[in-house]
């Protein structure tokens, strides 16, 4: 298969994975909060690592991020990012109205964010599991609040161990109000192999 067609097919496949995953995650979030959650069409980027970082976050905004390692039949990592208003809106919905400082969230508040995101990540993976008939396990969540670029760097470095280019499926979700977030899925090497074998696509390129 020509390399260009191959890349196109791979992108398409990843887009579908992202679609199913985010759909499933948005459904759970909608149930949890009792609100309508809208999702965008997933954006699949395959490009050199230095380009990707500035494409995803050109102005390096502040974000609260939850990081999950993915293990099981396929590897990779998931990162869920919220902007300031989204963090406050989520905490308000779960923990009630309080005065909060984003740079100094309490252990309890971080735990709330971790729990919501855990549900999101699990449903995201469940969607992909169902589609591919594979077993995917997320790690415990880890929270950090900082600029977006250093936050996504770890996931990119980990990918850099097995790929020459960076691959990410990013999807925006929102409640059409204060809650805006982004799910980033960074597939690992096994993921690529698994997807191709599951969908019976012969791999000629590495």
């Amino acid at each position: 298969m020509a390399e260009k067609a191959f890349k196109f097919l791979f992108k398409d496949l990843l887009g579908e994975v992202g679609n199913i995953g985010t759909g499933s995650a948005a459904y759970s979030l909608s149930h949890l909060l009792g609100r309508k959650i809208l999702i965008n069409i997933p954006d699949v980027s395959i490009m050199p690592v230095d380009k990707l970082k500035s494409q995803l976050f050109p102005d390096n905004p502040l974000r609260g991020a939850l990081y999950f390692e993915v293990t099981g039949d396929m590897d990779g990592s998931i990162q869920i990012l919220y902007d300031d208003t989204a963090i406050l809106s989520l905490l308000k919905a779960i923990d009630g109205e309080k005065q909060r400082t984003l740079s100094q969230l309490t252990v309890h508040e971080i735990s709330c964010l971790e729990e919501v995101s855990n549900i999101l990540a699990c449903s995201y993976l469940k969607g992909i599991s169902k589609l591919t008939g594979s077993r995917l396990i997320p790690s415990i969540p880890s929270f950090a609040y900082d600029y977006a670029m250093p936050l996504i760097q770890f996931a990119l470095i980990k990918q850099g161990l097995s790929f020459s280019q960076s691959i990410v499926i990013s999807t925006l979700f929102s409640d059409d109000g204060p809650l805006n977030g982004e799910i980033l899925f960074f597939p690992g090497l096994q993921m690529k192999k698994m997807l191709f074998s599951k969908f019976n696509i012969a791999v000629h390129h590495g």
Binding site: D50, N60, Y67, A144, M149, Q153, F154, L161
Partner: protein
């Protein structure tokens, strides 16, 4: 105002003092500056991984790995007639943004720093200043004429090392 060169992940850049070198948003990566003690020639690398033997591709930018970046920089300085003994280093970065996950073998930040120290030691290049580790992102800028490295972070504001 001097020209500004901003480096992306795994990039490496040289200047003879007419430009400042900078990196936006260092997490586990390390920004390493090597500079000539007596002159204004300096170089910066945005190092991603500790060792060229454990990453792909092998023919990647030399700035991608600590070992290849330092070897490349020292060689380039030598081509300009600057010996390794006249070089000094400053570095920043190598954080663990997600403390629960980035431990042990996955603590890439610490491993990057260890690999850089080891490679610099092989050339006897001293690290004169550093702002490394912990759990926050950094944005850095190096001015070749004053040889000062400015480190900015969300949590601690600006400092100069």
């Amino acid at each position: 105002m001097a020209e500004k060169i901003t480096l992306g992940m795994s990039e490496l850049s040289f200047t003879n003092g007419t430009a400042t070198l900078g990196i936006i948003g260092l997490g586990s990566c390390v920004g390493l500056v090597l500079y000539h003690n007596q002159g204004t020639v300096c170089a910066m690398a945005h190092i991603m991984l500790p060792n060229s033997r454990e990453g792909l591709p092998r023919d990647a930018n030399p700035g991608r790995f600590a070992d290849t970046a330092i070897a490349y920089m020292v060689r380039k300085f030598a081509q300009e007639g600057i010996k390794a003994k006249d070089l000094a280093a400053k570095m920043a970065g190598g954080a663990s943004m997600f403390k629960k996950i980035e431990k042990g073998k996955l603590n890439i930040g610490q491993r990057n720093i260890a690999a850089i120290r080891k490679a610099l030691k092989a050339y006897n290049i001293p690290v004169v200043a550093e702002d490394i580790g912990r759990d926050y992102g950094r944005t850095i800028e190096f001015d070749a004429s004053s040889k000062q490295l400015q480190v900015k972070s969300y949590r601690y504001g600006m400092s100069v090392i």
